[in-house]
Symmetry: none
Subunit: 262 residues, 2 copies
Amino acid sequence: MPQNKVQVPRISDAVAASLERRILEGSLKPGDRLPPERELAVELGVSRPSLREAIQKLASKGMVQSRQGGGTYVTDRLESTFFDPWQDMMGAHPNLREDLLEFRRMLEGQAAEWAAERATDADLTRLNQAFEAMNQAFDADDSERRASTDIDFHQAIGEATHNVLIGHLSAALLRLMQDNIRLNLGELKTIPAAISLLKSQHAAIHTAITERKPSAARAAAETHIDFVRESLAQSLRSAARRQTAERRLSANTTDFSASSIS
Amino acid sequence: MPQNKVQVPRISDAVAASLERRILEGSLKPGDRLPPERELAVELGVSRPSLREAIQKLASKGMVQSRQGGGTYVTDRLESTFFDPWQDMMGAHPNLREDLLEFRRMLEGQAAEWAAERATDADLTRLNQAFEAMNQAFDADDSERRASTDIDFHQAIGEATHNVLIGHLSAALLRLMQDNIRLNLGELKTIPAAISLLKSQHAAIHTAITERKPSAARAAAETHIDFVRESLAQSLRSAARRQTAERRLSANTTDFSASSIS
DNA sequence: ATGGGTAATTGGTCAAACCAATATTTACGG
DNA sequence: CCGTAAATATTGGTTTGACCAATTACCCAT
């Protein structure tokens, strides 16, 4: 009964691996919608049933989600498996934010350094696009777009390191931090001075990577995080003062600690 | 773009759940052969593609195995079905292992450096305990204890950094790597020379942290990871050679037919 | 009996079509 | 002019039927 023979390669496995690789490498980001099955089948040169079997495999792994009539989307389970518990924890223990920023300082610095060393021309093109989009979003007064393009920019850097852990972690941590900020501060104060400073910092990172100067890139990234850390601490202090004042006005204990997302 | 609506039940999910239940309940024991797809399809009242999608789901979970012309069998090692998406991803994409090691080199280096700077006396006490326990486990020939005490030691370092992200992440990544090694290589070659080298490397990290020499601690940690990376690559190469030799004996014409993917 | 060759079995893949839920566009009415 | 509802297009879900390829089972000649 035992079957020692070579396993015949299944086409659905090859397709699943191909899609999985695209997701891991970041060309299919979490939240992205896959092309329609009929198109994707043609593009990959396989029949629709085979494509569907591959998609079902990925769906059973929780990497994609399909809705009839809607489309098939890449889930963010990859990041959430690592950091879903963290979101709750961040709400309960705000001092975690400092740990996160310290960690990000190391991560983003290393990412910028490696990106400057290893980025291919394609990587630089993507980085340029993300950089331009982010600058436009920063000029406009759309905090939603600002946040998402910021993530895209840092993720583009992460992908240029050619290390999937860096790419996913840096994007996940940035997203985690942004969500946490939105949760706890509502809207971060966007004073024009900070905006322009952020823009110049991003530009410094961008040029250092483009000109392939690893140590300069690392320094620029670390400076950027240091600034974020400092200005965030400042905002928190003022927010705390405001809350204290409000508390003094009305003996009203508004305490919300359990904030479970996803 | 958000999908708040109720998910439509997919028939392939229902079929997969049905088969999974039969397997877990024991009416389909490990090693059993499923009925032919055509029969099973009519028995379950679904079409063959739907049945196949369900089977692919189970196959991707490692619960069944199919051979063209042979049949579909319930896999006999149910206990090895891990639910960690990163785990089977590492199996599918071995180059992830290199990414992981590169990432760990940065992480462990930074952890050792910060630990040397910040460890309190209590931290050092815990670190000493973990260090002693690990040494005992390495002297004994208990690979199980060796792995767990190794995790404990690195986690003690992580905790001494007073950054929860570092602590949890370094332990999680080490565990992930150990599981992956166990899964792919069975038992890692434990040549005595490697054992004593590992012991001395651990001792170097331990002393550097105890004596509060941050840069020495970082260097020792990085040396340690470099050694692990090199010896792991060596083991993988020899394993690959062994597999090649086996393949050569059975003179199988390896056939690559899936070409138009990606 | 045994060996080899043939036929039946069975998973793998593809094609075309239709259904159902969703998304998008259009048209209508306020 | 805007908002809402109907109509249309898009897209995943499912079925049928067919053919291919690997495996297994069978049968016959030696």
